[in-house]
Each structure stands twice: as structure tokens, then as C-alpha cells.
Subunit: 146 residues, 12 copies
């Protein structure tokens, strides 16, 4: 079972700025922990981060031939990208949307998600643990289906 | 660590009707599985289901003195109950909101949640697994805090 | 053929207050007339009134095993209850929504019905006769189907 | 007692197209059944169908001098015609609005009715039976008033 | 002169939680002070608190035969309950709506009140004193009318 | 100078129904008075009334070759007809929009006019005198231009 | 018969700036022409212009004791002043609202009038002639009433 | 293969007015060119123009028995006619919607089309060529299907 | 303790017009009664009325150096004045907003208050008694604080 | 005559996924067919596909010096990209917007196009034929202009 | 070159209240600094402050004959005054709008400006420096034009 | 002191197209002038232009370690990019938003800025001078802070 983790724009800044909001853990450390957990569960895992909407679209398209599912934190593109929505629809893989903070407590324009409507499931507000819960939920789903 | 699971209106019908949407598992079976998992994690767990908004409000208030956190599936009251929102604020416990289906794929009036803005985190769309992910997220949060 | 008549909040006040709007007939008298008509048509009929949203939800759920259809006047819950809507969907019975007054002539917030979208049919504005027309429409529907 | 039945645009197509939605009964057959029922009740009944908003307006105006009430299925003009609304107000007769299907289950633009606010009562969703329930409701109303 | 004081959902928590917002006075202490003031003014006073919308509706209905007026703090039901609005209309008593905090400084969804439009008067923002001002305004009104 | 007076739907009912709103003068009497006034001012005047949107469109088109200006009371089509708006634009004549009652005091849907944006001027609320003021304003405009 | 003409903010600039929009006639010249016409009709006429909302409110209040009606061009306050609306209601005189240009052809925020709903009638788009038509309509109304 | 071309309200004015917007070609000339092109492609073609919504509805209904498809320029009825939408649904033929100008560059109320949602395809902005592109697209579609 | 009472636009008309709505008491009489009550409570009181938004703003600014609190009935400026809101914020005094009538029962545009969000408390609907309740609430607040 | 065909995000997936919606033809095959047709018409044609908004903007800018017109299927960027709109305005070339499916039948957020307002024309709903109709319309336009 | 600086309502309070938001500099000190800078640049400068909308309108009108441009901080009237907007249009001078704080970070009702649409340019958020940047921008503009 | 100037999409076209709107100065010439001015002020300045949202996000992130502030003209991304907003928040530097034209005079969708709410200040409408005023405002701010 192969799973791709996609981190959207500005998530490469994790642990470097605004630690009171996003914590002190860096993206590299999150990826390392996810990799450990994945190994424990016997899952192949790979990572991708980009600030570019187009590169994320292309990566989702390519995942079609080499992944079984995606965990994505679309960051700011959650609220503005129809292109990523279409890429998810087009690739046909189950996709879990995760957010570190509870977006429901933030600005109005963050209440609208173009992604949730095409996602398998959505998880938000558990800090970095959102990634682990999302990975767990996706793995369970894939095991049950196979 | 004591955790209360609250099931909102119509969830007592799980497994009895519309199995194509909500699956064939009954609420009793879900509770049994959650109890097993809780025991495994060394967590005290109790359950409550009601179709009455007022009873859910009262139960949340009482949980203040005998629980450390709540996992709630508010069902239809997600979209109409300011009273449950106020009860959550008032009790001061961390609350995780879970939904079996992905509400973002359903009617417009289900897009507004009065609960998400006061929840620790939100999980939706993983079927019955949403409960397990929510319980897991809450337990991790409480352990880290203590 | 068994039919349940549900009267929502404040309908127990019929005939006691505001006779210029709702007429001088009490709820008991309406039920008596409906019972007579039902007997004439060979239909088993029972009645339920509550001011509590949760009790109405529970009653709809229970009707699943002992009724063939429901005539409901949801009163004020017409405009605020997603829970009753979900209960109707869940019970799977044909439900006819009736209103004594023509709600389209009243306040803006009474223009939105959460119930109409899941009802078999809707009748409003005929005074107490709305109940008889609704019962008649439901009986015809059930006869044709069986 | 004289009652006019008005069928709005496209209703002349009943029974000829989309039988899964509107049934296989033609408008002529509906009119015949209504005429039989009217005869049984001792009611004079006449019929009018038009695809033209202006002709329906004129017919309602003329009914003022030769009818006691109107049963109208305004079809698509329900949602767009202020002129028919004004004609109903102007003629001063009691008017019952009927719809074959439950319009509350259809597109958003069918949720707004210019007619309901000036109608005696509204009936929708009972198939062709909506006409009979509407005629029955109107006849009862007129008898009680006289 | 008999006056009923109704406290809505979560007000039983007063003085137990969030003292910085709602103060340290418990609901029992408020009721005691109101009872003293009422005695001084020669007014019969009684109290009711419930978290259930339906029970509040029923209590308002019953007050019709044994009260001259109502002071109600509808709490969260202020913003969601058409049923309580209808009960107030139906009982025909003068009703004063009070709020401890100034709701105009809080969330958007607290700006809409279903109750204000049918109340005699509205008072908000004076802390617990809102109850005394409301009681005083109602007593003055009833004396002047009699 | 030739001027066409157009009366929209239901205006043929003037003086026959609802005299408390629209007065007791019939459309024929209004036309007679307008004709007298026109003769006094040396203006050729003609009249047209129709309940049909299409016929009004056609009449406006034909006026192009035999009129210098139009006074129109579009009645209910004021609020729903883009076709009449387009006809006015297309005919190129100056058009004055008049209303007997002050539409700003009526329902919300009468606040929107498709005609005002392409009219020379708008007059409402002077009763039948609105027609005379409109005719006067149009005649002055045409004299000044020629 | 005494009539007061009120010109709102910026109308003192008429004829001095933007002649292509508002024409080359100054406010003084308009007043002179109106005075001539009034004399011809045997009407006492007086004039008031102010850029201040408060002064216009005060002037309307004072007109109560020395005028029979008002013609007002509220200028920009048309769209923002509830205080002038209240003053008109309070003074109890018939008020005609006039506009030089057709406001329906201008910006969105000019589509809302706080004044039209309390005016006897509204006239717009006839250039300076709007004042004469408005005066004429008001005089006719007052003559008919007396 | 038989195709019906329908021209909506005001299109009979083509070439007679506003040539800078709609060009100098008359409707008759357009029909002649379309007839030539149709002959070249071996297609039977007929034409219909009306300013009346009702007549267009009736014509679409009748086309059911003698046409294989329709090219319609609904003109102003694009934005206001639910009746034409229903007629298209009811007749079951493939319908192509065409507009001479690019309606997306015009007023807001022209952005809403009741027709596009039930059309096979939509073409706008190519001047008279929109008709030829639309006819071409419809013919290709019908050939492929047969 | 010094308190300033501010009456907004049109309140100088109290008792002179529309006695059925606002009662027969004049503003002078209200001020006299408030002065008596203030003397009884040992409070210095002064009064200000203006129809001008700017003068009210200036008066609030000046109150900063010679008052301890303000009771204001902003009249129509409640709904349109950001300037008065800013003056209240700027002066730093506790301000109580009062209304004679229950504004929640009036037009839509009176539902929005720019003042409530910066007021200590809000009282409406008790007739002239609203002023006394507001003064009482303010005096209690100031005593408790000192 | 040189024409550039631009395919927006996810269109490189054509023929690879969701054949029931988008058909089985790949983007390469579409380009080959367009190239053949172009050759037949004596037109130079080139192609560009990208998932990146920025690259599409840059390509439109560069086309200014080497193309006579553009046919663009902006895909998801239709609904979110002001940058592409600005690039089209800036390059000054005639641009035809095409869509394979009828976007009017899809989600609400696909109803808004930032591109249509600056396009020469718009074509949607003819499947792959939309490209040929668009190319044909553009070629006709350019020939006529030259 | 003569430039007028206009300060709107409540700006006379600068430096006297809320120094954490608006700084400790008084309006007099700002004017002194602006006067120095103006002298250095060889510009005649004058100042005006008012809390009255009407006085600001009048001052803008009068500036027409004795100023070359205006720098205005409209304060709260930014969001409510169409009259000041019209005065700016009418006077024909270039006007620069400045704000001390960044209004985009404040309440929703401060997001709408009636002034920006008729201003030469807008500057906000630089504290008192906004005035100097605005003056500088206006002087540069006027020099270039002359 | 190091300052980064960022030019968003399509700004590389400055001086090459639409000189009547944007002037004849190229981006290179603007940068040269800004560099001269910066040298004069003793400020290190660097430049970046991109049509790609992702590259702008990355550049803002990197500026964190080598700049003291940013002047950005976000072009079309002003209205659509939450990602750039988040990058500004994340980098923690003071950012000044500039626009060459007054965006408040343009289309509706240009009225919403995702950037203004997180900017130090906003300047628009002074042509190329907007850059110099923005740079000046930022330099003053940084000097004062250090």
C-alpha cells in the first residue's frame, strides 16, 4: 500500500515562524514521524511540498499510477483552488483532507473549502496529530476495501 | 481518564434503516467496539444517546464534574443548536465533533455547524471509523496536556 | 391501514386562544372528527401531540414498526428542525405535511420549511380541513400502492 | 356553485411525455374525472388551458362574473408571474393552487411562488390527486361560507 | 399581581463556570434577590428553569391561567426557537426579554432574535441587574394597565 | 406630435374592483380625460391595453414608425419583463413609466423595475394624475427637443 | 395654500458645475420659475436649501405649522437618511420626492431610497421639469382633498 | 433530418434598429442564409419568430412530432422564462441555445439563463455567425447519434 | 455623579405628533420627570437635544470632561451613524442606549444598530419608562464601580 | 494566420480518466485533429498545456508577438483566475473561450467566469466539437477583419 | 499651489484619547508639521475640521474657487456619506483620501468607502505619515499636470 | 536596511501595452528609478517579478532572512490569493501594498483584497508614484522602529 502526503503552500515554514499557532515542530520532523508510523503499519509513504498550485495539480495527476491514496493539507489553496479539486476528481484516488488548526475558528473566507466536497473525509484541529489521524483513517479505509 | 460519548438525534436508528448510507452496524455495536478500544487504552468510557436537545445540553453540563473530555456526534443539532454550543463553552471540557458521513457532500443547510467553532477538532467522512479517530485524537490531546 | 397524526408545538392550544386566526375548534374535537372519518374509511388512526422536538423525533422513529403513514402538522418546528426531517427520512414512511393557515401569507422565517423537501405532499391554508384533505391524500396514496 | 379549473403552460403535454414523472394520464382524462366528481357533488365545472400568461390573466378576470372559485395549476408561471398574482387579487374569488409534483423537491427557482401568498390554500405532491383534493377543499370552503 | 421568571438553557450554570463573563452569583441567589424585591413590591413571583425548548413552551402555555406577565431570559433559544415565539403569542401575556450580557457585542448569529418581535420590551447588558430592570419595567406596565 | 398610451395587465379592471386602492374611475374614463387634455395641447393620442407581454412588445415595436413617444404603465410586467425593456431600447422612442400607486410602499418584489433603467423618467403615487403628469412631462420633453 | 420647496445637499451647485449632467440653470433660476408658476396657480411658495441633514430635519418639523405640503429633492440624503424619513412621518404633511436625473440609471447605492416609502409620490428623470411636475401633482392633490 | 430555428422576442427588429450592436442584416436575410447552408448539408429547416412566450412554448411542444432538433435564440426570455425551459424538457429534443452578442458582457440580469441548464450546448458572441456555429454543432451531434 | 441625557433627531416632536405611537408626554415633561428622579437619587443631570449628527458627536466629545455617563436615545441615527459610534468609543464613558418603542417590531432597516455594539446596555419598548430604566441601570453601574 | 490553442489544468488527463464525462479521446488526438483541420484551412496552429496559472499567463503574454488569436479552454482557472483575465486584456488578441462540457449544468461555483467578459465569444457543451466550433468562429472572425 | 486639508468627525480628539490606537500627537501638532512641510515645498496650505457632514460638504464646495486640491480624512463619514461623495464630484478638484489606521483590519462596515471611488488615490495604515504621503502624492500630481 | 520590491502577474507588460491606462514607462525603468531613490536614501533594494502565485509565495518566505520589509504590487493576485496573504503573515515582515491605478474605480471583483488586511499600509491610484510613496512610507516606518 502506497500513500502520498502532500503539504500545500507555506507549510514548509512550519516550526520556523509563529510557533504559538503552529507549534515548534518542523515539516521535516513531521515527515520523519509519519514515515516511522507508516513503516510500523507496513505502508509505503512519500512526501511532497509545494507553494505552487500547478505543481500540486501535476503531482496529484501523477500519483494516479503510483499511489493508493493521498493525505493532503491544501493550506491556503483549500479556499481558492478549483484546479486541485478537479485534479482530485480526475485521479480517482481516495483523498483525506487535514488541517493543523481548527479552520472553523478563523476568518470567514476560510470557512469555504473547495476540497471537502470531493474528499473521503476531513480532519481538523488536532495540531500535528491531524496528519496521523488522517493517515490512520486512510489506511483503515484502504485495508477494508482491499 | 474519563470520556463521554454523546450520540445526537436519530443515531439510535443506525443499522436499522438506510444501511446503504450509514452501514449495517448498530449503535450498540459501535459502543461495544469503542468500549473495547477504550479498555485497551486504559480509558473509562460512557455513552449517551438522546433525540432531545435539552437532554443533551443537561448531559454536557453534568459531564463537567465527572468527565475529562467528550466525543460528540451532534447529528441534526449540528446545524440548529446554539444551546449545545453554549453548553460546550460552559462545561469547559475539550470536545471532539465527529460525523459518520462527509457532511460537505450533502445539503446546503448541513454546511453550517454551530459546534465546530467551539470544538477542539472536527472529523467527518470515515464512516464508523470517525468515532475511533475522534476518540484517539482526544485521548492523545488529554495525555499530552496532563 | 394504520395512520399516525402528529401535532407539533402549541397546537394543544387550538380553540383556547386566538380564535380569529385558528378558529374555535379544540384539538380534541379535531381528533374526534378525524377518528370518525377514519372509521368510515376503515382506517386505524392514532394521535400524538408534543411541544418537544425530541419526543416528536422519537415518535416518528417508533411509528416505523406500527404505522403505514403519517400526517404531521409540525407547527413552529417546520422552520427550525433538521432533526425531524432526518427522522422522516429515516423512518421511510410516506409523510404528508399540513398547515391550518396559509404560511405563505405570514412572516419571512415561515417561508422556509425543512419538512416539505422530504414530504410526500404538502397542504396548507384550508383551516382544519387541511387535516382531512391530508388524511384523504395519504389514504388514496397508500391504497393505490398496496 | 360554479368552479373554473385552469391549467398553465405545458400541462397540455400531460400523459404524452415523461410519464415516469407526471404519469400516463392525459389532461383530457383528468378533466373527465374532475367533471364526473363535480357532477356527483352538484358543482358546475369548466376548464381552461393555455401556454400564454396573458390569456390566463384575461380568463381569471372574466371568471369574476361567472364563477365562484378557481382551482389553478399555474405550472411554470408559478415562479415568474406577478401578472397572474395581480389578476387573482383583482378578481376577488377564492383560488386554490395545486401542483402534481412536490415542487419543494425540485430546483431552487421553483421554491419561490408568486401565487401562494394570494391563494386560499396550496396542495402539492399527490400526483393527479392534487386536483381532486384541491377541488374538494374549495367546495367545502364555498359551502361553509354560503 | 403574579409574575413568572423563566430562565432558558445553560442558565442553571450561572456562578459555576465562566465567572469573568457571567459573574459569581448563582441562579439560586438571583432568584432569592428577585423574590425579596417582589415581596417588597407586593408581587407574587415564581421561577422556572429548563434546558428543554419543549418544556419552556409548555410552561408559557400554562402561565396563561395563573400569571399576569413573564420575564424571560431565553438564552440560546433566543436565536433558534420559533416555537417559544409562538407560545408567547398564544398565551397573550406581556413578556419582557432580558439578557445578562450585551448580545450585540457577541457572534453574528446572536444578533437575530425570534423573541424581540413579540416582546413588550427588551433589556440587555446590565449583568444580573437586567433581571431587576426587566421586572421593574413589567410591574410598572401592569400597574398602569390595571 | 403623436403619443401612444400603453396600459399593461389587469389595468382593464380599473374602477371595477378594489376601488379603495385604485379609485372608481374606469380605464375608459381615464382615456377620455387624457384624450381631452391631448386635444387641448394639440397632441395626437392613441391607446392600447393588453394582458399579454408579447402583444405589448409587438405594439412598442410598431410604434416606432407612427409615434413620437410612449407613456406606459407596465403593471405587473414592470417587475418581470426583460422583453418589454428590450423593446423600449429597440424602438428608440422616449418612454415615460407611470404607476397609479406608490410602488415603494408595496411588496419587496415590486421594488425592482426592469423598465426604469431605460425610461426617460418615472412617476408614481399620484393616483390617476400620474398619467397626466407623465403625459405633460413627455410633451414638454418632445417640444424642447424639436 | 402654502408649499415649501426643499433642496438637499449639493443642489446649490446647480448650473455652476457639470452642466452636461445637470444643465446650465442655477438653483436661483429654478426657484424664480417655480415662484412664477406658483403665483399663476395662486399658491404661496417658499424655498430652503441646506447641505446639513440636521437642518433639513428641523425645517421639515417647523413646516408643520406653516405649510400644507412639501416638494423635496433630498439629493444624496435620499439614500442615507432615516432621520429625514422620520421627520416626514412626524410632520404629517404630504411630501413629493423629486429627482432631476433618473436615479435608476446611476450607481447601485442610489437605487435605495429611504424617502420613497413615506412620500405621496415620486418623480424622476425629467430634468428641472421634475420640480414643476412635482409641484403640479402636489397642488392637484391638495385641491382635491380640500 | 429536420431542424427548427426559433427566434425570440424583438429579434424581428434585427437590421432595422441599433445596427452598431446587432449589425445590418435582417432576420429574413439570416433565415435565407441558414436555409442555403441547410440545403447544402441536406437538412430540412424551418423558422419561427414570436414576441409571445406562450406561442414559443406551444411551438416547441409541436416540434416534438416533426423535428429532430431545435436551434433557439430565446432573446429576453432567456432570463425570465421557466415555461420555455419546461417546454424544452418536455419535448425531449436536443436544443442549442445561441446569442448574437456575448451576454456575459451585458447587464447582471442577463447573466442568469433558465435555458442553458437544459440545452445541449450554448454559443454566444459571434454575431450572426452564432446561428451557423449552433446549427453546425447540432447537425454534427444528430449525425453522430444516428 | 453627573449624567448627560441625549435625545436624537425628531425627539423634540414628542407629544406634539403621533400621540398614539409615542404618547402625549412632551420632551420637556420627560426631562422634568428625569430631573426629579435624579434629584431623589442624588445625581446631577443635564439634557441635550439636536437634529444634527455633528452636534451630537461634539456634545459626546465634550461630555468627557464633565460627565460620568450618558443615556442616549439616538433616534434615526441609531441605524446610520458611524460617527456617533466613534464618538462614544472615543469619549470612554459608559453609555446606555434607550428606545421608546420596541424597534424590533418596526422596519428592517431599524434592526441594525451602530450604537448597541459599543453601549454598556440596551433598553427598548417600555415607552417613556425606557428612559427611567436606562438611567437606573446606569446609576447602579456607576455606584458599583466607584 | 497563426492561432494558439491553450489547454488549462487537468486537460492533459483527457481520455485517461472519466471517459463517461469527457470521452475517450486524448489531448494528443484532439491536437492532431485540430492540426489537420487547420492545415485544410491554411492556418498555422500551435498548442500549449499547463497546470500552472503563471505559465498560462506568461504564454498569453508571449503570444502577442507571434499569434493572431487564441482558443483557450481555461479549465478550473475559468472560475478563479483574474490573472489570466488581465493577461488576455493586456495581449490585445481576440480570444475564444471553449468548454467541453456545458458548465451551466455543473456546480454553482462553475457558473462564474472571469474569462467570458473579455472573450470574443464563448462555446460550451458540444464535447470535443467545442474546440472545432471555436476555431471555426475565430478563423471566420479574423478573415472578415483582414 | 493651494491645498486644503480636511479632517472629519472625531479627529479633533486625536492625542487626547486612545493613544495606543491613534498615537499621542494632537491634531494641532499634525497641522503644524504639515504646514512646515508645505512651506518647504512652496505650497499654500489651510486646514478644516468638523464633526458635521453638512459643513464638510459646504467646505468642499467653497474650495472650488480657492484651492487646487484636497487631502481628506473623512473619518466615520467615509462609510456613510453619499453627500460628501457628491460634493467631491461636483467641485472637480483632485482629492486624496487618507486614513491613519489600516481600515481593512477593522469592522466590516468600515470596508465600504463611498469616497474611494471618486478619489485620485487612497492611502491608509501609515499612522500620521499617511497625511504626509497623501500630501506628497497630491503635490507631485499637481506639479506634473501644470 | 534591505527592501524587496515584488511585482505580481502581468506587470512585466508595463509600458508595452495599454499605455493610456498604465503609462509608457516599462517595469525596467520603474526599477531603475526606485534603485536611484533607494541609493539616495541609503537603502539596499532588490526586485522580483513573477506571473506565478507559488513563486511569489516562495520569494516572500525567503525574504524573511534577508530583508527588512517588502513593497508588493500583487496585481491580479490581490483579489484571489489566500496563499500570498498567508506567506505575508508567516514571514513577519512589514509589507506595503501598492497599486498603480485606483482599484476602487474598477470592476466589483477588484474591490476585495486578501492582502490589505495583513498589510502595514495600502496606497493606490497615484500611477507609478504609488511605488515611491509606498517605499517612502515603509522606509519611514522602519527608521522609526529601529
Amino acid at each position: 500500500m502506497k500513500i502520498l502526503i502532500i503539504h500545500g503552500p507555506n507549510l514548509n515554514m512550519l516550526g520556523k515562524r509563529e510557533p504559538d499557532i503552529y507549534g515548534a515542530t518542523t515539516l521535516q520532523e513531521i515527515n520523519n514521524s509519519l514515515a516511522e508510523k507508516a513503516e510500523e503499519w507496513g505502508v509505503d509513504i512519500s512526501f511532497f511540498q509545494s507553494n505552487s498550485e500547478g505543481e500540486i495539480v501535476s503531482t496529484i495527476q501523477e500519483s494516479m499510477s503510483n499511489s493508493d491514496g493521498i493525505v493532503i493539507n491544501p493550506g491556503a489553496y483549500t479556499h481558492t483552488s478549483v484546479a486541485i479539486r478537479d485534479a482530485i476528481l480526475s485521479c480517482g484516488l481516495p483523498v483525506v483532507e487535514v488541517h493543523i488548526s481548527n479552520v472553523h475558528k478563523r476568518e470567514d473566507f476560510r470557512q469555504k473549502s473547495f476540497i471537502s466536497g470531493v474528499a473521503l473525509g476531513v480532519i481538523s484541529g488536532f495540531g500535528i496529530n491531524s496528519y496521523f489521524l488522517g493517515l490512520s483513517g486512510l489506511v483503515d479505509y484502504l485495508k477494508e476495501k482491499s
